[in-house]
C-alpha cells in the first residue's frame, strides 16, 4: 500500500472542484466588467460600509465562537464520561436537530423570540420582564450559537473520548489535583478537537447571511450579506468575488494558527 498514492483521489478532487472554482473567483475578483485587471474590488473592503460590515461579522462570529466553546467544552467532558456504548446515541442527539431544515428552524426561532412570541407569552404568564432581543445583534449571536454549537461539541467530544484513561490515572497517581490534570493533560490532548471546532464554528459564522436577515431584521449589515447581495441583487460578481478573496485572509490566519498549535500538540504527545 503506497501511502503517497492515497492522497491522489483527494488531491484530484481538490484541483477539480476547489482550485478551479477558486481560480474563477480570483479571475472575477481581479477584473472589472470589461475584463481588465484591477485591484478595485479588493480595495473596496476599505469603504466605510464594507469595513463596518466586516468588523461586525468578525465581532459577532468571535463572540459566538467563544460562547460555543464555553458551552461545548464542559458538555463534551460530561458526555465523554458517559457509557461507551451510548457513543453513537450521544452524537446523534446533538446532530438530530440539524436534520430539520435550517430555514424552518430559524423561522421557528422567530416564533419563539418575537414580541408576542412563545417565550414572551410564557414570561408574561410568569409575570417576568419580557425578553426583547429579536431584531438585535443579540438575536444574531443566539442564532449563530444555536446553529453551530453541534460543530463545536462533536470534535471536542471526539478528541476527549480518545484520551487514554490510564494517562489521567497516572497523573492522579503522581499527585496532580483535578485542576492540574485538566490543564496539563486533558486540555492539551483535546486541543486538536478544539481547533477543529473553532474552525467549524468561526468560519461559517463569518459568512452567514440568513441568520442576520431573519433574526436581526436585516438591520445590521454583515459581510456575508454584502457578498450575497453583490451576487444575487446587484449582479456584480466582480465585487462579490473581490470581497470573498479578502475573507480568504482568514483561512490563511487559520492555517498559521493550526500550524502553531499542531507543534504544541505533538510536543505534548511525546
Amino acid at each position: 500500500m503506497n501511502k503517497k498514492m492515497l492522497s491522489l483521489p483527494y488531491l484530484f478532487w481538490c484541483v477539480a472542484f476547489i482550485i478551479i472554482p477558486l481560480i474563477m473567483v480570483f479571475y472575477y475578483g481581479l477584473t472589472d466588467k470589461t475584463g481588465a485587471f484591477t485591484l478595485e474590488n479588493i480595495a473596496a473592503i476599505a469603504t466605510p460600509e464594507h469595513s463596518k460590515a466586516l468588523w461586525f461579522s468578525l465581532l459577532l462570529s468571535l463572540i459566538s465562537t467563544v460562547i460555543c466553546l464555553l458551552l461545548a467544552y464542559p458538555l463534551a467532558m460530561i458526555l465523554s464520561k458517559m457509557q461507551v456504548n451510548q457513543h453513537s446515541f450521544i452524537v446523534l442527539i446533538f446532530i438530530l436537530p440539524m436534520w430539520m431544515n435550517f430555514l424552518l428552524r430559524t423561522i421557528a426561532w422567530q416564533t419563539l423570540l418575537e414580541k408576542s412570541g412563545v417565550i414572551n407569552t410564557l414570561l408574561d404568564f410568569l409575570h417576568l420582564p419580557a425578553l426583547e432581543i429579536i431584531n438585535t445583534p443579540y438575536a444574531i449571536v443566539l442564532g449563530m450559537v444555536y446553529n453551530f454549537l453541534p460543530f463545536m461539541v462533536l470534535p471536542i467530544y471526539n478528541s476527549l473520548t480518545k484520551i487514554d484513561n490510564n494517562v489521567i490515572n497516572a497523573a492522579r497517581d503522581l499527585g496532580a489535583d483535578s485542576f492540574k490534570t485538566f490543564t496539563r493533560i486533558i486540555l492539551p490532548l483535546s486541543l486538536p478537537g478544539v481547533i477543529s471546532g473553532i474552525t467549524m464554528v468561526f468560519v461559517p459564522a463569518l459568512t452567514t447571511f440568513v441568520i442576520s436577515t431573519l433574526l436581526g431584521g436585516s438591520k445590521i449589515l454583515l459581510i456575508g450579506n454584502v457578498i450575497e447581495q453583490e451576487f444575487t441583487v446587484t449582479n456584480n460578481w466582480h465585487l462579490g468575488s473581490g470581497l470573498s478573496i479578502v475573507l480568504m485572509i482568514f483561512i490563511i490566519v487559520n492555517m498559521v494558527l493550526s500550524l502553531v498549535f499542531d507543534k504544541e500538540g505533538e510536543g505534548n504527545a511525546l
Partner: protein
C-alpha cells in the same frame, strides 16, 4: 458503523415505499421547460395542459428574479418559458435573451387579457413584443386597526415616531426606495442622484423607527400582531385579512408601484411552439380562474375575473383596484447598470447605518 448503515437503509426503504416509482406516461408532442416562481401556479392546470395537448411539462421553480437570472443567462438548463417581473423582463430584453412572440399563436392572450395591462406593460416592453401578463398587483401599507387609530392615507405615516419599533419595511432595494421617492413626490424610476440622496437621507432618518426589514415575513408578523404598519404586496393582503380581521390595506395617495409578472419565451428556446401553447393555455379563462383561486394574486385576465363566483372577491378593491382612480401608479423599469450601482451603494449606506 453497521448500525448507521442499517438506520440509513431503513429510512431509504421507508421513503421509497412511500414515494413509489415515477410513472412515465406518453407525451407524443414533445416537451416544454417552464421556470416559474415558487407556488405560483395551480399544479392541476399543468396536468390539464399535459392531458389536452400531449406535451410534457418539465416544471421548475425559483425564489427571486435575481436568482433566476444568472441560471437562465448561463444557459445551465434549457428553459423555454419564464415568468419574470417587469424590470427583469426589460433587462432580459436589453441583453437580447427573449424571443419575440407570435401573437397569432396566442388567441387567448389577445382576447382575455385586459388592454390596460398591455398598456402598463409598455413600461418595460414598449411594443408588447415579448410578454404576456400573468399576475399583477400593487404595493401598499397594511396596518392593524387596533394599533393605528388615525386614517392611513399617506406614506408619511411610516415616519411617525408614535409607531417606533412597529414599522416593517421591505428588504429589497427598489421597493424600499420606492416608498421614499413616492413620499418625496419623485418618480420611483428616478435616476437623479440628488433625488436619490434625498431619499436615502429620509430612509436613514426612518431606520431607528423600523422594527425590521423583511420580505415575506411581513405577512406572518402582521398576522401575529408584531407590528402596527407594514409595507406589503397586495396579493398578500386578502390572505392576511382572512387570518387577522383587524388588518386593513391601503394604497397611499402619493401613488405606488404597480408590478406585473409576465410570461416570456427565451431566445434560445428549443420548444418555442410548445411554449406558446403553454402560455396561451394559461390565458384561457377557466385555467386563469383556477390559478387565481390557488395563488390569490390579481389576474389580468378579464374573462377569468367575470367567472369569479364570490362577489366580494370579484369586486374587491384590494385584488382589483380601479386603476383609473390613480394617476400616479408606476411600474418598475430597468434603470441600467450605472443607476443600479448607485441604488445599491445608497442602500448599503442605509443598511450599514447603526445608532451605536
Amino acid at each position: 458503523m453497521k448500525k448507521f448503515i442499517a438506520l440509513g437503509l431503513c429510512l431509504v426503504t421507508i421513503v421509497s415505499t412511500l414515494t413509489g416509482c415515477g410513472s412515465s406516461g406518453k407525451y407524443p408532442n414533445g416537451k416544454v421547460y417552464v421556470y416559474n416562481w415558487g407556488e405560483y401556479i395551480d399544479p392541476a392546470t399543468i396536468e390539464m395542459f399535459e392531458e389536452e395537448t400531449g406535451i410534457q411539462v418539465i416544471y421548475d421553480e425559483y425564489e427571486t428574479n435575481e436568482t433566476m437570472y444568472p441560471k437562465v443567462e448561463a444557459g445551465a438548463s434549457n428553459y423555454d418559458v419564464v415568468c419574470p417581473s417587469d424590470y427583469m423582463i426589460q433587462k432580459m430584453v436589453d441583453n437580447d435573451m427573449l424571443a419575440e412572440l407570435n401573437w397569432d399563436n396566442l388567441p387567448n392572450a389577445t382576447a382575455n387579457i385586459g388592454a390596460s395591462y398591455y398598456e402598463q406593460s409598455r413600461a418595460f416592453d414598449p411594443e408588447n413584443k415579448y410578454s404576456v401578463p400573468y399576475c399583477w398587483g400593487t404595493v401598499g401599507i397594511l396596518y392593524n386597526t387596533t394599533m393605528v387609530e388615525e386614517p392611513v392615507t399617506s406614506w408619511s405615516i411610516l415616519w411617525d415616531e408614535k409607531y417606533a419599533d412597529s414599522i416593517l419595511m421591505q428588504d429589497s432595494v427598489r421597493d424600499l426606495f420606492m416608498v421614499a421617492l413616492k413620499e418625496l413626490g419623485y418618480s420611483m424610476n428616478s435616476t437623479d442622484e440628488a433625488e436619490l440622496q434625498e431619499a436615502k437621507e429620509l430612509l436613514i432618518a426612518q431606520k431607528p423607527l423600523v422594527q425590521a426589514y423583511v420580505v415575506d415575513q411581513v405577512r406572518d408578523k402582521m398576522i401575529g400582531n408584531e407590528a402596527a404598519l407594514g409595507v406589503i404586496y397586495s396579493g398578500e393582503a386578502i390572505y392576511t385579512q382572512r387570518e387577522n380581521p383587524n388588518l386593513a390595506y391601503v394604497i397611499p395617495e402619493e401613488g405606488t408601484n404597480m408590478w406585473i409578472d409576465s410570461w416570456v419565451i427565451l431566445k434560445d428556446a428549443e420548444n418555442k411552439e410548445n411554449a406558446e401553447k403553454f402560455i396561451d393555455f394559461m390565458c384561457r379563462p377557466d385555467i386563469a380562474l383556477l390559478n387565481f383561486e390557488y395563488i390569490t394574486y390579481s389576474t389580468p385576465n378579464d374573462a377569468a375575473r367575470e367567472l369569479i363566483e364570490d362577489e366580494d372577491i370579484r369586486n374587491s378593491t384590494i385584488a382589483f383596484p380601479d386603476l383609473s382612480q390613480y394617476d400616479n401608479l408606476e411600474t418598475f423599469s430597468y434603470l441600467g447598470e450605472e443607476a443600479d450601482t448607485l441604488y445599491n451603494e445608497l442602500w448599503k449606506e442605509i443598511k450599514s447605518y447603526t445608532s451605536y
